[in-house]
């Protein structure tokens, strides 16, 4: 579904991504692991068209989307749940959700309201808090709202940026149950960026490990769990074995 070949991304003169290649097949949950500053968010933003200073190729459903605008990419079916949720705190839960369907609201209004019911089935708590302003929700509820909002654009590929951040373990499991449900029941393909390797590998089929802008490891979840290189990628180059 998504194929990236040798992507290089820059912030001015600083090269944030170096030769990134990865792919996500239909129906998979693929995770992108790495420490802070590894380039994970940069990668998601590149896919979404938010970062334009790039070299390399991105194809989605066999179409080259490398030069496409962000709006065009959303319309093609890619939706991001950004790091830190970035909800509209003063708007209600309902409004946040509706805004997620902004680009096709007018043309598919009926479908959208029907779809809202599906969202409320997945996140019953959001139905409860429908009229509350987003800023008053707890961390976990906000994360659910952010995911719900992203789903409102009816994406075929959902990008999740660190959904576990700042959440208590119990809430994290709830969120990850939802992620699993999305793949299993809704057939949503998911690219999941995470710092929390264990929780991510628990739910993902495959993963890639990013270290300072480069992919250093890839494999199935089982293979990655087995590989100690991940520890290195997280703890940094200075990490040495006791005997070294």
């Amino acid at each position: 579904m998504l194929r990236i070949q040798s992507l290089n991304a820059f912030y001015g003169n600083i090269q944030a991504l170096r030769g990134i290649s990865l792919h996500v097949d239909d129906g998979e949950i693929v995770t992108l692991l790495g420490a802070n500053g590894a380039g994970k968010t940069t990668l998601l933003n590149s896919i979404c068209g938010l970062i334009t200073s790039r070299k390399g190729k991105i194809t989605f459903h066999d179409e080259d989307i490398t030069r496409f605008s962000a709006e065009k990419i959303v319309r093609l079916g890619i939706s991001q749940v950004p790091e830190g949720r970035q909800l509209f705190g003063e708007l209600t839960v309902m409004d946040n959700l509706i805004l997620g369907s902004y680009h096709h609201y007018r043309s598919r209004k009926k479908e959208i309201y029907k779809y809202l019911d599906t969202i409320f089935e997945i996140f019953p708590i959001l139905k409860e808090r429908e009229k509350q302003s987003a800023g008053t929700l707890s961390g976990g509820e906000q994360q659910m709202l952010a995911v719900g909002r992203a789903l409102m654009s009816m994406p075929t590929l959902l990008l999740l940026d660190e959904p576990s951040m700042g959440l208590a373990p119990k809430i994290i499991s709830e969120i990850f149950e939802v992620i699993k449900h999305l793949r299993d029941e809704q057939n949503t393909t998911i690219l999941l960026v995470e710092q929390n390797a264990h929780v991510a590998l628990d739910v993902a089929d495959r993963g890639y490990v990013l270290e300072t802008g480069r992919i250093v490891l890839q494999g199935t979840s089982e293979e990655l769990l087995e590989n100690k290189e991940i520890k290195r990628a997280y703890l940094g180059k200075g990490y040495k074995e006791v005997w070294e």
């Binding site: 170096r18 990865l22 792919h23 480069r214 250093v216 087995e226 074995e241």
Partner: protein, 428 residues
């Protein structure tokens, strides 16, 4: 269809290439960070890992030769501390110094999976009885096949280097269906069965997965006839992983290389230039999933050609032609590359000769000269002296036609030359 892993063995080529690119880039990043040898190699060549932005860029990276592996023994080429390495094995050291290779837990799993693909090509299932006649120990052949067969659930008999007579007894008693070993060993079994008057029908053998040394079609037919089995070739090399690099399918038209784990290239042994599809040259392999001991563009010293056309078996993996010999066997006479296997082929077509021959190169004169000493079959040598000069001329003519070279031919008595390729049995 005898394919173990449909997902990867029949993957569309564009998806396969994406996978190869991803894995290649990841491993380049890792070896650059963790292996001084590769860091220096790339730095000296002025290449950074990210300069490899497509598979076409692979030739930018300098080769890794066996000498470098020898120089960096014992652990210089390892990417991880020894505590992550769960197994050490080595390539045999008959002609050169042995190389120690290492495997992580994931490496062992991949290796096992790959060997089970090899066995599956021979339709091995859990109902089979697999007899392994490779030497158990540091050599990768035995344990590689052992684990692969166990993964499939077959009954594994680790005969190791038990004598051929004893192994035949095992085959009878335990109804061995699959023989794993060298072609030389299989021939020994054929010979002993002939001597002892044992009918192959008395055994339950069905298939032989033979390798670890070059062997010809002629030898394959002897084995298949002698043991009433299908004999399939498979290719492996200890420095790369052991067995599990490539295997013949039922078409017997080349061995499919497991490209999701290894990227093959064929290069001119002298210039290093990458050769196009179909041309014979030295096989160069890059491991893209090995963790402990990955190799980038490793010169195997084996001569082969690559074929990307579709195979009726359904696998989309490239095929390599059987390895007839190594680059050190290649003889260059007056600028012409002479492959001993080609000579063997020609002799096989001529009646009255055995395919036992010896090559003699004389470089003392103004031009290099090649002489072939060929064994004549019993019958002709003793009865028909007149026929001998006919045969000599025939051979001369055929060789001239095929090689474009004048080759002096000497006919010698039967049994005076050992089969020209005497293999140690553990040449890898």
């Amino acid at each position: 269809m005898a394919i173990k892993d449909r997902k990867y063995e029949t993957l569309q080529r564009d998806a396969l290439q994406q996978l190869q690119l991803e894995r290649l880039q990841a491993i380049l990043n890792r070896v650059y960070m963790n292996v001084a040898f590769y860091r220096n190699l790339l730095d000296k060549a002025g290449i950074a890992p990210e300069d490899i932005s497509s598979l076409d860029d692979l030739p930018k990276i300098p080769f890794t030769a066996k000498e470098s592996l020898v120089e960096n023994q014992p652990y210089g080429m390892f990417t991880l501390p020894l505590r992550e390495v769960v197994r050490l094995q080595s390539s045999s050291g008959t002609t050169r110094e042995p190389i120690v290779v290492g495997y992580t837990k994931n490496d062992i799993e991949h290796w096992t999976e790959l060997v089970s693909r090899v066995l599956m090509a021979g339709k091995v299932t859990k109902d089979d009885v697999v007899q392994i006649s490779f030497d158990y120990g540091l050599f990768t052949g035995a344990l590689g096949f052992h684990y692969g067969a166990e993964l499939i659930g077959a009954t594994v008999i680790p005969c190791s280097r038990l004598s051929a007579e004893k192994q035949i007894a095992v085959m009878r008693n335990y109804r061995t269906t699959v023989l794993v070993g060298t072609p030389t060993f299989a021939l020994q079994v054929v010979d002993i069965m002939n001597e002892q008057g044992i009918n192959p029908a008395e055994l339950s053998l069905r298939v032989g997965l033979l390798g670890s040394e070059p062997w010809s079609e002629v030898v394959r037919q002897e084995i298949e006839r002698g043991l009433h089995i299908t004999a399939l070739d498979n290719y492996g090399i200890s420095e790369i992983i052991g067995p599990g690099v490539a295997v013949e399918c039922e078409e017997k038209n080349g061995m499919h290389i497991f490209e999701d784990h290894f990227i093959p290239e064929v290069v001119d042994p002298e210039t290093g230039e990458v050769l196009p599809e179909g041309e014979t040259g030295e096989l160069v392999l890059t491991t893209i999933t090995k963790e402990a001991f990955p190799l980038i563009r490793y010169r195997t010293g084996d001569l082969t050609s690559l074929h990307y056309d579709a195979c009726p078996c359904g696998r989309t993996l490239v095929r390599m032609s059987r390895v007839a010999e190594r680059t050190d066997d290649l003889i260059i006479i007056q600028g012409v590359k002479v492959l001993p296997s080609r000579i063997e082929q020609i002799l096989a077509e001529i009646e009255g000769t055995e395919t036992h021959f010896r090559l003699n190169v004389d470089r003392s004169g103004a031009t290099d000269e090649l002489e072939v000493s060929v064994e004549v079959s019993d019958r002709i040598f003793f009865d028909e002296v007149g026929k001998m000069s006919e045969i000599q001329e025939e051979i001369q003519r055929r060789l001239d036609e095929a090689l474009g070279l004048f080759v002096r031919v000497r006919l010698v008595e039967p049994m005076s030359i050992q089969k020209w390729k005497e293999s140690s049995g553990n040449s890898h």
